[in-house]
């Protein structure tokens, strides 16, 4: 893309601004672009010239932001994690909220949209081959009802991607994103002193540092090559090894029959870090091929697996 004059800064709306990933994305955009921060959880404290709003994407007030600012691009990171809300409200926020957002993008002639999806959409199954390409079927809803919103959010974004090329939609499907401040299930699990593992199952996994993911979002945004991309490093580790490396003690959970670990999770209220609907992801691998993204955008993660795990090790030592 050609360089733009400094006075005509693009305006970028970033959702999920209270989250650790969006915060990093905003920090990287700040200065070069006019950023607008949006979150449905809280009004985010930001630097002086970043307008910040607390608003639900699927409620009417959201449109006012588009009325009051000339928005050039949207980076949609915000969503409810499955442990944060019940299924109905999560569906409304994640799926209907995204639909509303994409409609507004069309109505107000937004020229670029980035969607932050997840590798969960592929679904964890014993029949998964490794190194799944972007065109592999999305089988997560086969695994559990609780991931339906992830798959539908994706499908919705994909419909807009093919139907309205002028929106320049890029969908990113990252592997597990970890690091300081990250509140997803995997990060919460590795932050614990004692982490549950399934007896006899240690699937291969991929991990990405949240700073590398923020960099990935920025390069994809700046190069603007619409499409669907897996985002993952060229490195792999077995789940139980990751647990050990993060300084957790393992708590082995009987894995068969399959209903047993789900029961434990429900009974002990492990919804935040070992939820019943993610049990299959602790059992079977979902290894994605990140080559397309790496080659298209010339991006490479700068932090190693050991860098990631050492953060969790150190934070445990500090707490002790």
């Amino acid at each position: 893309m050609a360089a733009r004059p400094a006075q005509a800064k693009k305006t970028i709306l970033v959702t999920g601004a209270a989250g650790s990933l969006a915060k990093r994305v905003i920090a990287r955009l700040h200065g070069r672009y006019q950023v607008i921060a949006v979150d449905f959880r809280q009004k985010v404290e930001t630097d002086a010239n970043i307008p910040s709003y607390k608003v639900d994407l699927h409620k009417r007030g959201f449109e006012d932001i588009f009325r009051n600012h000339k928005i050039d691009a949207v980076i949609h990171i915000g969503r409810f994690f499955a442990h944060e809300q019940d299924r109905q409200r999560r569906y409304n926020a994640n799926v209907l909220g995204t639909k509303k957002l994409l409609e507004l993008c069309r109505k107000y002639f937004v020229k670029q949209v980035m969607i932050h999806s997840t590798y969960y959409v592929y679904g964890a199954s014993p029949y998964n081959p490794a190194l799944l390409d972007e065109d592999a079927p999305l089988k997560a809803s086969e695994v559990t009802q609780d991931l339906v919103d992830s798959v539908e959010l994706e499908s919705l974004a994909q419909i807009y991607l093919w139907k309205y090329p002028e929106l320049n939609i890029t969908i990113l499907r990252p592997c597990n994103v970890l690091g300081p401040g990250v509140r997803n299930s995997m990060s919460l699990l590795l932050s614990r002193g004692i982490a549950p593992v399934l007896l006899g199952f240690s699937p291969m996994m991929q991990f990405l540092h949240v700073d590398d993911m923020a960099d990935a979002i920025i390069v994809a945004f700046e190069q603007n090559k619409p499409g669907i991309y897996n985002v993952a490093p060229e490195d792999w580790v077995a789940f139980q090894e990751a647990v050990t490396q993060s300084g957790c003690s393992k708590l082995p959970i009987p894995s068969i029959p399959p209903v047993l670990p789900k029961m434990w999770s429900n009974l002990l209220n492990w919804n935040a870090f070992f939820p019943p609907y993610l049990i299959n992801y602790f059992k079977y691998p979902v290894i994605i091929d990140g080559r397309l993204f790496r080659d298209t955008f010339g991006w490479k993660p700068r932090r190693s697996l050991n860098d990631i795990f050492s953060y969790y090790r150190k934070s445990k030592l500090l707490a002790a």
Binding site: P126, P129, D133, G200, S202, D235, W236, E241, P285
Partner: protein, 283 residues
Amino acid sequence: MAIKDVLRGLAGFSLGESLYRRIVTPEVEAAIEKIPKPVGSFGYDPWGYNENAVKVSLGVTKWLYDHYFRVTANGLENIPANGRLLIIGNHSGQLPMDGVLLGTALATNPHGPRAARAMIERFFPTVPYLGNLLNSIGAVIGDPLNCAKMLESEEVIIVFPEGVRGSGKLYKDRYKLQRFGNGFMHLALTHKTPIIPVGIVGCEETMPAVANIAPLAKMLGVPYVPIAPPFPLPARVHLNFGKPMHFQCNMESEDEVTALVEQVKTEIRRLIALGLEQRKEIY
């Protein structure tokens, strides 16, 4: 308390260590070092192959290879030291001992060791421990995407195109090739991969089966339940590797592909006959 833990740790360590040294001999260690196999920062590859697990299992299978099955391998120099490769052989002996021995021969090949990948049945990943164990020593479920990605990253794959038709056949049918699937030839053509044919002699005699209890097999959901010795007998095994075969074809019809498969089959038949000729005693 702390001292006791340290002592216990030390005892466990030294005992484990001496056993480990007996299994993972310097020879095994050196072979693994020479294998051109890229792995991630913790020694894993995307399919779960793990260097440390491979060392131990190769230590065990190398002992079986040398002292139990007393394998004679010819034509190891035909195996390229680098690049994608399909190893195609005859399958026999109820248990996949032939795959294990082939893998050992390849991993300890003095002309350039390779880490061979084997394709396993789809139910294995659902079995606790066993699924991960098989993955860690290089086996993966036989999915076409797995094969494609492995060949594209220059790996070696062992394929028995007879599948359970070969391994489950009875002793009276020994060394009679069963129907070959065409899948391997499609892989070879699509990914421009040379084929090394191998004739395996001896595995038929490790577990001679007189009958198959089909109804029981059906009930258990396994391919076959043979009436056979309860463990593999120590038959001498002869492996004869042929020269690399290169194929090209526009794949306009499946018949063309079948004709190419027939060429490989003919070569394997020749290599089996060679092995039977070399064999002086069965056990």
